[in-house]
């Protein structure tokens, strides 16, 4: 079945994208990613530990030849900081992709829409493949596409909340209007949330905490893999319309 997601000429073999944060250790990270079947992994940019140079590097466990590395600008609260992190990320030489996050509020970690829009425009002009994280806002999604976003990543719910898709109708509107792939990012809690995102017609789902924070992250990673597959297949198959009243499955004809 040829059902590949392509963003700016890059082919993705999985529609499940996963983060690498909050795991017990790098070994567990690697095992969970393997079990999830994901080929995109997000990473953060942080200061190198200059006092312990023997400390292991994440990329020793996540081979950039095997996985597409999607650096983020997590933790940035201004456009300037986000640009700085994005440029540093690209300088490591593994990827032109950037998951652009400019946070506007500490408690909700909701994005700063204005700063995200400006940063998208600048980074797209610099040749980045910009994937901005935004609220489930259809108008903002269009503005970001105009600004050069290669895909748009609306949140399902606040980062790490596990609430699932809070506003499927907005996601649906974003899907109808946007001319780029839509990746639901953040807030999913379990496999059914992922399946719902895919059933709505999203192109991919990005998650981290739902796997890393599960009691058994490896098993949850596998559940997410099947959630994405099931949701995508159901979307392609075309679900029945919702009706208020019953329609019998067994014929009336031939009844005694």
């Amino acid at each position: 079945m040829d059902d590949k997601l392509v963003i700016r000429g890059i082919e993705f073999r999985s529609r499940l994208w996963v983060g690498t944060g909050k795991y017990k250790d790098f070994e567990e990270t690697a095992r969970a990613i393997e079990a999830s079947g994901a080929d995109v992994v997000t990473v953060a940019v942080r200061r190198t530990n200059i006092f312990d140079n023997r400390s292991e590097n994440l990329l020793d466990y996540i081979d950039p030849k095997r996985y597409k590395i999607l650096p983020n600008t997590a933790g940035c609260y201004t456009m300037e900081d986000a640009l700085r992190y994005a440029r540093l990320a690209r300088e490591t030489g593994v990827s032109d992709l950037i998951k652009l996050e400019v946070i506007g509020d500490e408690k909700t970690l909701f994005p700063d829409a204005c700063a995200t829009l400006k940063a998208t425009e600048i980074l797209a002009k610099e040749g980045f493949i910009v994937l901005p994280y935004i609220n489930d806002d259809p108008v903002m999604a269009l503005r970001l596409v105009d600004a050069g976003a290669a895909a748009v990543m609306p949140l399902a719910a606040p980062i790490g909340s596990g609430l699932g898709i809070r506003n499927p109708y907005n996601i649906k509107i974003i899907l109808e209007q946007a001319r780029v792939p839509i990746v639901v990012d953040a807030g999913v809690g379990t496999a059914s949330d992922v399946a719902l995102a895919m059933e709505l017609g999203c192109d991919a789902v990005l998650l981290n905490t739902a796997i890393a924070g599960a009691k058994d992250p490896i098993a949850m990673a596998e559940a997410m893999k099947y959630g994405v597959m099931a949701g995508r297949m159901a979307y392609k198959a075309g679900r029945i319309a919702r009706k208020l009243y019953a329609t019998a499955s067994s014929p009336i004809e031939g009844m005694l």
Partner: protein
């Protein structure tokens, strides 16, 4: 020469390039990006970029994140 490296004041002897600094810190250059005084030093310039007393150096790499 006094350098600020990742927020830590560090005193180092002699002339140093970015390559030399990474060597002295035993950091693999292939895995990091380097900024000196808020400006990125391209990997191809690591060997030629001489550090000066008082430079503010940031060395970053990828860590787990979502």
């Amino acid at each position: 020469m006094k350098l600020m490296i990742n927020g830590n004041e560090t005193v180092l002897q002699g002339d140093l390039t970015v390559t030399g600094l990474l060597q002295s810190l035993q950091i693999e250059p292939a895995r990091v990006a380097v900024e000196v005084n808020m400006t990125i030093v391209k990997r191809c310039d690591f060997q030629s970029h001489a550090l000066k007393d008082g430079d503010n150096v940031e060395i970053v790499n990828f860590v787990g994140g979502g």
